[in-house]
Symmetry: C2
Subunit: 487 residues, 2 copies
């Protein structure tokens, strides 16, 4: 690794120093500052340290800054798509609905019903995260996916950066008690900026009673373990912006809220407060909808006057299919006419093939069998953990009906450089094994059918996972929250 | 309770609202903000919510402000005593040593050895907490004890105030989602101000190498559960003042530090950094010294050039015996000549009797048997939990040799008003039972043999315990951290 220009040196840490000195310090900081998660089968009064790395992971400054620089263009792009410009998103969603009737199809149905019924609120808030891997050979950022619903770790990302900064500044990493890393260890402003994004939606919302402040409803999963990532946003909303919030599961909407039939305004039953923003940290995967009532609840939220983050069209804009289509410059520039911006985004794309009967689709089908080692097969659905890699692709495709192939996209594999010096901490176990790191950049954008009211970059996240594992998802236990040291 | 003028109303909280709405919110805030403690037999990567109250406890504003107002005078008083003005503290400590040879006696021996050897550092830091109960009949603050070593909860006190403010501002307490308490819920600045106190000592310390910053050594107990109260101070030292710190147990001093024999400067072996301030969060009870080596370690610290918080004389000034003697105005005014200040302190005192052969002692011995219901019997030692109350006093005194009676003082009981509306939260259990609350006020003072260099108020603490229990000590499991709502 040292052959890379400016690549940071890492401290030599003996097992004894790690266990006797560093871990107690890491855990004290983490617990004292809420860098925590509920363990499986938890009691609500007890928590554990979130899966994290001991050190920040080196990233080339140029790649880090490139990812931040393109975020507002990505926000614009997906807002424009979500505005259903030329009916394109509806058209594509309708097609997608057919290849994934169980989930995308149901979201689409709910959207159609809501549209028929009448959608009372024009404003929509996008809370996005664009995820990248950095290509080993040229240090270019390459987009893995663009997330338009329930993006997580904005809260814990800030905290893990603060932890690494603390460990460095307090001299814990070094042998002489001085800072070990002289390179910059930035702290992600995501915990604050995401709360600011939510705030802008509330500021644009017109409450029924002008003297009463609307609140934010966090729509969450029952039994959520990653609560402390979410609660940071709620606390910042109140302490920095005076905005109250509540937590509701998709299962509780009809029990704990009331939709005024004529005005479509949504009220929290317990206090009578109007909900100005519905912020989804659930509703992105089939498991989030248990019964038909849950789908009805999603419908209620969609037709309500509350601003949704995201509304259904915005959520639907985040499918892999849309991501695939946008790699076509002709399509991309319809939504992002500015040539410089479009070029910057295009540079972050790898090749993505559909597996349908289009010309590109036929090429994809062939490549899946002739060169599977260069690809990953991804389902349209959000959530991760369901990807099929390399040589497993042909076997998998043969195991399903070819008519279901369009529910997947074939994506060129990105080849990031594993980091070998970092140490992953999960519970009290530590692992010094190669990790791969994914950089996510947050953005928020408030828009209606015609206008963009605000468009902001909102911090970043580094998530690392064992390089041997092909799966992601920190909360699921396969990865951890990391931060960066720039070189 | 409503008959008291201005006494705050409390919300009606059903068991269902408590368990389904309030507790999850309380725990989320507490874990997200480090209002936590290690459970018994803990793993260092897991913690639980500290024992706390659901609501702030009402205190009369006048009493609260009175307690804050006298703190700097108390700081001055105990600094002057610790300066060994007229040899009084040495004289009294020598007497006390005889009645408590196992602990006070050993501290005294170490002090004498250190003095003979030569104490290289003139500067001493007092980190004090004066504890009060509020008398029911007249709302006057009455001093329970004055703590001169290892005062705790400066960190968690700030956090529990923030929690109660959050719960109020977020509308959780009320039925309508508005703030429930309109009265002030102050947040104790103790987490910040105590760190500032430690900082002043470091600023006055002259390091061996003028270009190298000295560090603070926290002397802690092995297996400490109240770590997160302490770590807040360490984090504030670094983030607000750029001062590093380390944690050492009394057992580790000879293994992890080196005393330069000629300069008496103390260095941390692992990094070579000079220790400028030794801050004791241990060393206040017999259990903190396991072997003779531990006493040697205390000796090493005392003769070192590092500033001690506290040094042995300052620690010895905190005995109940000294507290008892200071209730004598003639003695008090020798150390605090200013008549107004002395009067203000005197008003906070209850009657305290020695159990020795002095005139007052003979009176005490009589009262212990004729009117035990008005008294509490306290050992000289710090730490709490060993007090004997009311009718148990005669039985206890008869059970021990009369020559050991001078190791105790007999103190007039203070009659605080129980609070009946608050709810104590311990783990996931809740208790709505009457509680008694003790107000502690923190202070820091930096002084040498002649001069006081700084003297500061440093925030406050409210600790509540079940009124039925006669024991205190939150970490020991008999009490909880509370905050105040002023009326």
């Amino acid at each position: 690794m040292s052959s890379l220009k400016g690549y940071p040196k890492f401290p030599d840490v003996t097992k004894e120093k790690l266990e006797r000195e560093l871990l107690p310090e890491v855990f004290q900081w983490a617990i004292s500052n809420g860098l925590t998660i509920y363990p499986p089968d938890f009691k609500i009064s007890e928590a554990q340290v979130a899966p994290i790395t001991l050190f920040p992971t080196p990233l080339p400054r140029k790649a880090f800054e490139d990812a931040i620089d393109v975020q507002k263009s990505f926000n614009s792009l997906y807002a424009k798509i979500s505005q259903n410009h030329n009916g394109w998103l509806e058209e594509e969603s309708e097609k997608l609905a057919k290849s994934d009737p169980e989930f995308t199809g149901k979201l689409w149905e709910i959207y159609k019903r809501a549209k028929e019924h009448g959608i009372s609120q024009d404003l929509a808030l996008g809370v996005f995260r664009s995820d990248y891997l950095i290509n080993d050979n040229d240090n270019q950022i390459k987009q893995v996916e663009f997330n338009t619903v329930s993006v997580s770790f904005a809260g814990l990302s800030t905290k893990v950066g603060q932890l690494h900064q603390y460990l460095n500044d307090s001299g814990r990493y070094s042998a002489d008690g001085e800072s070990f890393f002289n390179e910059e260890i930035p702290v992600s402003p995501s915990a604050e900026l995401l709360a600011e994004g939510l705030t802008k939606a509330i500021q644009h919302f017109k409450p029924a009673a002008s003297d009463k402040k609307p609140i934010v409803a966090f729509i969450v999963q029952e039994g959520e373990r990653n609560v402390f990532d979410q609660s940071v946003l709620a606390f910042n909303l109140l302490s920095k912006h005076g905005i109250q919030s509540c937590r509701l599961t998709m299962q509780e909407i009809h029990l704990k809220t009331t939709l005024d039939k004529s005005t479509k305004r949504l009220y929290l039953n317990s206090t009578g407060k109007e909900i100005g923003l519905v912020y989804f940290r659930s509703g992105y995967a089939p498991n989030d909808f248990v019964t038909q009532q849950d789908w009805e609840n999603r419908f209620t939220l969609e037709i309500s006057y509350a601003i949704k983050a995201p509304n259904l069209l915005t959520q639907l804009s985040g499918t892999k299919k849309i991501q695939q289509l946008l790699t076509n410059k002709n399509i991309l520039t319809k939504f992002l006419p500015d040539a410089n911006s479009a070029d910057a985004l295009l540079q972050t794309f790898v090749r993505i093939y559909p597996l349908d009967s289009s010309e590109l689709g036929e090429m994809g089908k062939k490549l899946a069998f002739t060169n599977p080692e260069n690809f990953v097969l991804k389902p349209q659905r959000e959530g991760g953990g369901n990807n099929i890699y390399k040589e497993d692709i042909p076997t998998f495709l043969k195991s399903i009906d070819e008519k279901d192939w369009p529910a997947y996209i074939l994506m060129e594999l990105i080849n990031p450089r594993p980091t070998e010096e970092n140490i992953v901490i999960r519970g009290e176990q530590t692992f010094q094994v190669p990790i791969l790191s994914e950089l996510g950049v947050f953005g928020t954008i408030l828009f209606d059918n015609k206008t963009v009211h605000s468009n902001d970059y909102a911090g970043w996240l580094l998530r690392s996972k064992f390089s041997a594992s092909n799966k992601g998802g920190v909360a699921a236990g396969f990865g951890c929250v990391d931060s960066v040291v720039l070189y």
